[in-house]
Symmetry: C2
Subunit: 487 residues, 2 copies
């Protein structure tokens, strides 16, 4: 590959040149959703960011195996090691079998991903689909001395691990501080130390999701599945691991520890983390009343929304910020994105119809370089969009006759714009509402018919009525004017 793609590696806290382990193959693992409720708009941002990363790697010619899991067991309320499973709680409240909850919200998640034009991953493995492999990893960690069993549960021994490895290398936490800041256990848990985390939990009698294991009936700890599934499908050492920045600690830190407790070397070469979504400057949360769903954003059905915004408007809005920055939602920003998206798509419609000249005012090579430079700089979509808008402006100016473009430059521009707008940034053309178009055309026809009647040209007004009827449109005349409907 001839490129200089650099990525910001959260692990080293540096921008680094991207060099795959086994080019042209690239392994990409992204932590997917826990399917116990409707997908959150912040999640949509995370998955859209990694969709762009996936798309750009594919555009560069890499053969990417993109694994994004579904967490359908083991994620406990409060993201801690004690308490109820998030999915089981939902199942109890809604009087369903946990796997019915999983099915419902997995379907919903897929619908939202399609809505925003995010590509499906190459493999979408589930935690419950890998219980046997998870048990095997626990056995291996026990064997290697980095875990201990107490009363049917198995915990990772962070203190022991810290003697030889750097627990906290990803999140920057120090084991000494973690140890001194943690509360004493007061006998409420079987853990030797509060910093330890569960690999396998004994299932209480009420616990719905349960499997037999060498330690009795139980279920896997939340962090385990990602170590297991990334290793199974991408190997013990793979290229990119991504997720929301809220997962950095403890989830990703624990993943690294689990992997290193099984095999030597760094499990992941590049860690990428996306930042949060805020609403009018505040964190989006149900308790804040600002937690609208992706669907509500599209329909406009929420007090904070002044109108509905189309999925591609939302995508445009999201890509106007770099994935590593917070993204603040506001109606103003969305409305600006709506205009921007429309102007860009209109330019793409105009482009093939531009007349060409001998002379060209377009510097194709410089433009192409700027597009690649933007994306090679840690997938900088806001810069890429600004470069694209230079071309959009150029297209409008050629159309207005102010400047000219050659045949070769026009062709090149078209190919490049299509590649970056549709393939890399993942936009699709939103069909201008056909209903609007029919309404507009019918208004013109009804006006013409009214004029014909005023002019006593009844032949024409009758002909219009009959021709409409042939295409199943019926006009109803009344004192207030004429209305129409499709029969």
């Amino acid at each position: 590959m001839e490129h200089k793609l650099t990525v910001y590696n959260t692990l080293t806290r540096k921008k680094e040149l991207f060099t795959p382990i086994n080019s042209p193959h690239v392994g990409l693992y992204v932590c997917g959703p826990t399917v116990y409720s409707d997908v959150h708009l912040g999640n949509v941002r995370t998955f859209t960011s990694f969709d762009i990363i996936y798309r750009y790697l594919v555009h560069l010619g890499y053969k990417v195996r993109y694994v994004r899991n579904i967490t359908d067991v083991g994620h406990l309320v409060g993201d801690i090691d004690e308490g109820e499973d998030k999915i089981a709680v939902k199942a109890r409240l809604e009087n369903l079998e946990p796997m019915e909850v999983v099915q419902r919200y997995t379907n919903g998640f897929h619908e939202v991903m399609q809505l925003f034009n995010n590509l499906p991953p190459s493999i979408e493995p589930t935690a419950t689909g890998h219980i046997i492999e998870q048990i095997e990893m626990v056995e291996k960690i026990l064997e290697n001395g980095f875990a201990y069993e107490v009363n049917g549960s198995v915990y990772f021994d962070v203190v022991k691990y810290s003697e030889s490895e750097n627990y906290g290398e990803l999140s920057g936490r120090k084991i000494d501080e973690l140890l001194s800041n943690s509360r004493s256990l007061d006998g409420q848990t079987d853990k030797r130390n509060p910093v330890d985390f569960a690999l396998w939990k004994k299932a209480g009698e009420q616990h719905l999701m349960r499997w037999n294991s060498p330690w009795g009936v139980g279920f896997p700890g939340w962090h385990l599945e990602c170590s297991v599934m990334s290793t199974k499908y991408l190997g013990e050492n793979f290229d990119i691991h991504g997720g929301g920045m809220d997962l950095k600690f403890p989830h990703h830190e624990c993943e690294i520890a689990q992997n290193k407790a099984c095999a030597s070397g760094n499990p992941v070469n590049y860690w990428l983390h996306t930042n949060m979504l805020t609403v009018n400057g505040r964190k989006m949360a149900k308790s804040e009343g600002n937690g609208f769903t992706p669907e509500q954003l599209v329909t406009g059905d929420h007090p904070l929304l002044e109108q509905g915004y189309s999925p591609m408007t939302v995508r445009f809005f999201m890509l106007q910020s770099h994935y590593s920055n917070t993204l603040d939602f506001s109606n103003e920003a969305l409305k600006a994105a709506e205009k921007g998206y429309k102007r860009m798509i209109e330019a793409m419609d105009i482009l093939p119809k531009l007349e060409v000249s001998e002379k060209s005012d377009f510097e194709f090579d410089a433009f192409a370089k700027k597009c690649y430079d933007a994306m090679n700089d840690d997938f900088n979509t806001p810069i890429l969009l600004s470069v694209i808008f230079e071309a959009v402006k150029f297209i409008y100016r050629v159309k207005a006759g102010e400047i000219t473009v050659s045949k070769v430059d026009k062709e090149g521009l078209k190919i490049l714009m299509e590649a970056f707008i549709f393939d890399v940034l993942g936009f699709r053309k939103e069909v201008a509402s056909q209903t609007d178009m029919s309404d507009g055309l019918m208004n013109i026809i009804l006006d013409l018919r009214k004029n014909a009647k005023v002019n006593k040209d009844f032949a024409t007004s009758d002909a219009i009525r009959d021709q409409l009827k042939e295409i199943n449109i019926v006009i109803k005349d009344s004192r207030e004017g004429s209305t129409w409907e499709v029969i």
Copy 2:
């Protein structure tokens, strides 16, 4: 429930009154696809048939837990116990990890189900998601003496089972005949008897899909997953098990044997089997060259297809036959279905606009009874459609002023028709192509403009051009006439 739903039970070869084990709950298990290639039109028919059954049970007020599995491991080429896994073969040919094959064709399957408006099941479990439970069932069958281990594989002992149970009870095969008709083994397999079947197979070194087990590294037999997943989600004894009739033997016969080897009693109360799809009287098969895909049926892109047929046309066509009869595809039948579907939907559009009278020529109670009688008679959709068409005819006659309908009967008819057409039969209104409508309207407008020009009424012809431009439609005049496009 006040109804007399009868179903044809393949197990007893009789129509029986449907009585759920734990009303209003109903457990329904349907064998889903093996995801190693695009879904077959015959499969679409099977899943559409069970979609109707699911929808009608829900309509009757039952709380249905509908489980339809995804076979993503263990289904060997040739549907036998030796050889390669269908998914692994595909993975090797396409140079992919098996789970990438699974993901691609699972996504494709879901798209086809949506296309034909089949509802998603309550739970869609996968075979690889239940390896641990499958190993446990093998252990139980071994413990109960109905299986034996040889060289890392475990086989079900059909001969032993037949001493106490009736192997062949579902398919009508006799164990003596099976034994005398089977070829000798010639030492090519570890089976004691050719009628035995694999519960767990040792994985050769080249075998891609493999898990540790008490018998070494291997993978589950194809029949096992359905016994395991139906038991896990519906219990040891549940209401309805369905599938295509080609699955009756050996797949479903083996399921019954596996279940009975673990727990006493009949595992399933009602077995329902759908019949095959033929093309112009011949079995649909790739080797026959008549194996078009569901997508090709819609686009018309296959030598055997005279045109494309919309998804609801195909659904109408399928429901015109009872699920237990063969369904023969022909262009004539599809074209007739296209007309029928359109006429039915048009009647539904007319119905709310019908004028009402004091007197009613409609016998609502008799009509309602006929609808329910049809569906209560083993989900007889062709009869239901013919009853619906009596109402369609009635609607057109009221519209023509030949007969009358009262307000109450009109309301009742509307509620019932909507319930049966949309909820039970699962039709949806296919939007009449808006492009067609715009084309039709534009033709009228261009005609009017041409006439205005002929009459030297340039004010009108210019006004038309300007008004169109306001809604982004540009007219281009040439010697051949006028064309238009949306800009």
